[in-house]
Structures are given as structure tokens and as C-alpha cells.
């Protein structure tokens, strides 16, 4: 049976289609904007197209993410914690710590050796320490989100940026720009500010190697470097990171169909 996972996130919707052998057949992504339902549909259609499949060929669809209860075409819902833990271990099987940095919240998840969730901590009350902080910085500095990482890695003299507030960071950055500080040094400062907040969450659950970064921000190489520097720990990360939630949801859908050996969670 072919299954799908849809991750309806605050900043972007992601979809992944898997076959019963747990092979990824297609993936899709769409910006959420004001309508999470439309975004989920667009991501799902993009994944179908990439897989060369029709909607009727999908057996079960599971939704996750903050908008999961609005994804009307999904048969089931699963928490982001469960999905990211699965998605991370699918790509990096030895993962014991998952750090999911999303558009509006950040989670640290400790996974037991058998794959079950042992502990987690979450920040969803404050935009600092989430992707929104980086979005605010990128918009002030006139930089595209997908070029933040490579610019930040070129920084020679990182500027200290306060980690307290995604609103105040705007005037702080403008102030530094007016003083002639370089964009890459400010970006590195913004990455470090987010890394500091993320590190508090990760230390709270007691991080163990290997650690894997997931969520939209995990594709940002500057963010990965800043977290590694702050935690003193190597992070698994790559272009698959943003799809971890969707892949995890698809794996859960596969377990529901019963034609896959269920892993304990």
C-alpha cells in the first residue's frame, strides 16, 4: 500500500509519499500563508506529481503539524513529537536527540534506544528561538531565507544579538547596520541568538548523541553550525530535515495499514 504524510506547519506545509517498503516516492512543499488548508493541499498535490501518482492511489494519509486537524483529506492525525522522532530516525537510525526548529515553535525530543519518546521540551510561547526570529532578521537585512546560511558561514566578526524578542531584533539590527556592521556578521549573531535559546531546551531534556536537526530551519547551514558550536555536539542535518515531520506521519500511516512490521513507540 502507498501512504502519505502531511505536515501542516506554521510557515510551510510539507508532504511525503511512501510505499510499503518505506521508500520515499515523492515530496512536496508549499508556503502556509493565511490558509493552512490550501497549503496542505498544494504540498500534497506537489508530492503526488513528484511521485507520478493519482490521489486515489494513496491508501492512508496521516496529518501532523499545528494545522493537522484542519487537513480534511487526512484519515488520522499524529502529534509533531511522534512524527519528528520517527522522521529523524528514518534518516539517521542512531538518533537519540531530535531538535525540531519550526516556523513558530521549537521542540527538543529525547528518544530511547528503541525509538520511543523518552522526554521532550517545547517553546511555543515566544517567537525568539524559532524560525520567526530568523525570518524577522532576514527581512530587515534584505536577505532571502535560503541564502542566510551560506552568508552567515562567511562571518568573520560575529555581532552579539540579544535573544529576547523577535520584535526588538529588528531595531537592534537596524542600529548595527547604521553603525556599518556587515550583514554576514549580523546573520551569524542572529543564528547564535536562536542557538542559545535552542540550547536551553536541549539541555533541559539531557541531550544524548546522535542528535538530529529537523524542521524548516534545519536546512539552514548557518543555524546548524551555530547549534553545534553552542552545544559542542555534532548535529545530523541536511536538506531532508524540513520533511522529517511529513515522513514521520507517513511512517505512522504505514503502521496503521498493518502491512508493515510495527516499531514500538
Amino acid at each position: 500500500m502507498i501512504v502519505a504524510g502531511v505536515d501542516a506547519g506554521a510557515a510551510a506545509a510539507k508532504a511525503a509519499i511512501l510505499d510499503s517498503e518505506r521508500r520515499i516516492l515523492g515530496r512536496g512543499i508549499a508556503r502556509t500563508g493565511a490558509d493552512v488548508v490550501r497549503a496542505a493541499e498544494r504540498a500534497f498535490r506537489a508530492a503526488l506529481e513528484a511521485a507520478g501518482l493519482q490521489e486515489w492511489e494513496i491508501g492512508v494519509t496521516t496529518a501532523t503539524g499545528r494545522g493537522r486537524f484542519r487537513v480534511t483529506f487526512a484519515a488520522a492525525q499524529a502529534t509533531e513529537i511522534a512524527c519528528h522522532a520517527r522522521g529523524a530516525r528514518f534518516r539517521y537510525p542512531a538518533t537519540r536527540t531530535v531538535v525540531d526548529i519550526g516556523g513558530q515553535d521549537t521542540k527538543a525530543i529525547r528518544v530511547a534506544p528503541d525509538g520511543s519518546v523518552a522526554d521532550f521540551a517545547m517553546n511555543d510561547a515566544c517567537a525568539a528561538g524559532t524560525g520567526r526570529f530568523l525570518e524577522a532578521a532576514a527581512s530587515v537585512l534584505g536577505v532571502r531565507l535560503d541564502e542566510m546560511g551560506s552568508l552567515s558561514l562567511r562571518s568573520r566578526e560575529p555581532v552579539h544579538i540579544a535573544d529576547a524578542c523577535a520584535v526588538f531584533v529588528e531595531s537592534e539590527l537596524l542600529d548595527h547596520l547604521a553603525r556599518g556592521r556587515r550583514v554576514e556578521d549580523l546573520l551569524r549573531g542572529a543564528h547564535r541568538a536562536v542557538a542559545g535559546r535552542v540550547a536551553v531546551l536541549v539541555r533541559g531534556i539531557g541531550a544524548e548523541p546522535e542528535a538530529t536537526l529537523t524542521g524548516g530551519v534545519s536546512a539552514d547551514a548557518g543555524m546548524v553550525a551555530a547549534i553545534e558550536e553552542r552545544l559542542g555536539m555534532k548535529m545530523n542535518a541536511g536538506p531532508d530535515g524540513p520533511f522529517a515531520g511529513a515522513v514521520g506521519a507517513a511512517l505512522l500511516a504505514l503502521e496503521k495499514t498493518g502491512n508493515h512490521v510495527r516499531t514500538r513507540d
Binding site: C126, A127, A164, C165, A166, V167, F168, A178
Partner: protein
């Protein structure tokens, strides 16, 4: 003779011209541009006077250090305390809610500061949250207060973050909640942060509301509900920082004129 008080905030610049008796002769309001010094210069020019026609200039506010033609820079706390004493003499506590943050100040009868609390960690307790809310709801800033007063059943705002409030607004709109109920919920959220500052000072009498938020009637109502104390405003509340600076400029000028030791030092 004239003295100038200039309150250069993060979002707006208020300036007043006072005569030798401390009477306010003229007022000027400008939105703050990215170049704060240029904003201050335009405020000066708006009075049609040259710098050398003004005896003394006192600057306050977030950008006071950028007012290069000042004689003196004074903290917002000192200025708001002094102005509240002149504008609303019955109040023993001043609450200044600006765009960036809120301050509660206990004053004694001559307008000096006995103690203060500042909410400067994040933007959740300042006017920027309301500004962003107005934009998200596509309403002019001056209308959100009157609209919020029509609320029958204010929404419970779970996130206090000024950035995350936007997605919360979108969610409430999607759920079919009335705009006035959403707005009053947000006003109450900002008010609860400000009220906590006032309570920490142990204030028990009238509270003088100053700063740009004072012209928002919804905020006055929300504060009275959260504080359980009468909240007073003056038509000049939003000029309070500039008025306090002008009155303190006059005081400084009198000391300079009458005490030769001060002049020499």
C-alpha cells in the same frame, strides 16, 4: 525664551516647546524614521525656530542619544514622572506604555521617582503588539480601541508574544470570533503585563497613563479591569515624555542661571 523637550521613541517623535513659565506653547508629532537624528532635526524645524533661538534642549526616549543638538539627555522614567505630576497631579503612580515597552513609576508629590519597574524583555507588553494586531485585522490603529470597547465576550489570548499573536488572531478569525472580542482579548493581554508592573510597586491610588497608548480608550478600560484601580489620562498623555523633558530643561536652566557653581562645573 523657549525650551524644547523632545521624546524620540522607536516609532514616534513627540516634541514640545515651553515658555519660561513652563507653559506648553506648541506641540509636534512625527513618525520616527530609520534615521533617528534626521527625525529629531525635522521635529526642531517643525516649530520654525533655529537651534540658537531655543535656550535649552532636553531629549528623552529610546533615541535620545541620537539627538545631537541636545543640551541634556534624561531617562524616560524621570521625564514621565515629572510630566504626570503636572498633567495628572492626583495620581501617585505613572504607567507609561510606549511602542517598545511599558514602565510603571511611583512618584512623590513633587514628581520625583520613588521606584520603578520596566518591562523591557520583550515586545509583549508594549504598543507594538497592538500595532501588529491592527495591521493583521486591517484596521487603522486609532480604531482598535473604540472597536474593542464593543466586545461582549473577549477571546482568551493564550500567547503573550507580539509575533505569535498574529497567528493567534488568524486562528480566532477563522474560528468566526468577532473582531471586537479578539481586540479586547489582545488589549487585556497587554494590560495584564502592565498591571503586573504596577502591582510590583504596590500602587493603590489613581494611575496616570502616559505614552502613545494613552489615547486608546480600549486600553484604558482593559487596564482598569486588570488593575482594579482608576486609570486617568490627559489629552497631553502621549506628549508626556516631551513635556517632562521640557519642564526638567527649564529647571536645569534656572539652576544654571542662579547658581554660579553649577555653571562653572
Amino acid at each position: 525664551m523657549f525650551v524644547l523637550g523632545i521624546d524620540l521613541g522607536s516609532r514616534a517623535c513627540h516634541a514640545v516647546l515651553a515658555d519660561g513659565e513652563g507653559r506648553i506653547a506648541e506641540r509636534s508629532f512625527l513618525p520616527a524614521a530609520a534615521d533617528l537624528h534626521a527625525t529629531a532635526r525635522r521635529a526642531l524645524e517643525s516649530f520654525g525656530l533655529r537651534r540658537d533661538e531655543i535656550q535649552y534642549v532636553a531629549a528623552t526616549g529610546f533615541g535620545r542619544g541620537q539627538v545631537r543638538f541636545r543640551d541634556l539627555a534624561i531617562t524616560e522614567i524621570t521625564c514621565h514622572a515629572r510630566a504626570a505630576r503636572a498633567l495628572l497631579p492626583d495620581a501617585s503612580c505613572v504607567l507609561d506604555i510606549g511602542a517598545r515597552n511599558a514602565r510603571a513609576i511611583r512618584t512623590c508629590a513633587d514628581g520625583r521617582t520613588l521606584g520603578f519597574r520596566v518591562g523591557d524583555r520583550c515586545a509583549a507588553g508594549g504598543g507594538r503588539l497592538l500595532e501588529r494586531a491592527a495591521r493583521a485585522l486591517d484596521l487603522p490603529l486609532d480604531e482598535i480601541g473604540p472597536v474593542s470597547l464593543r466586545a461582549q465576550d473577549p477571546v482568551a489570548v493564550s500567547s503573550v508574544c507580539a509575533v505569535l499573536a498574529e497567528s493567534e488572531i488568524v486562528r480566532h478569525v477563522t474560528d468566526g470570533r468577532a473582531v471586537e472580542d479578539i481586540l479586547m482579548g489582545l488589549h487585556l493581554s497587554v494590560a495584564s503585563r502592565a498591571a503586573a508592573l504596577v502591582r510590583q510597586l504596590g500602587a493603590d491610588g489613581d494611575v496616570a497613563l502616559t505614552g502613545g497608548v494613552a489615547r486608546n480608550a480600549g486600553m484604558v478600560a482593559a487596564l482598569e479591569r486588570k488593575l482594579g484601580l482608576p486609570v486617568r489620562t490627559s489629552p497631553d498623555s502621549e506628549y508626556a515624555g516631551a513635556i517632562g523633558a521640557a519642564l526638567l530643561a527649564l529647571k536645569r536652566l534656572r539652576i544654571l542661571d542662579h547658581d554660579p557653581r553649577v555653571r562653572l562645573s
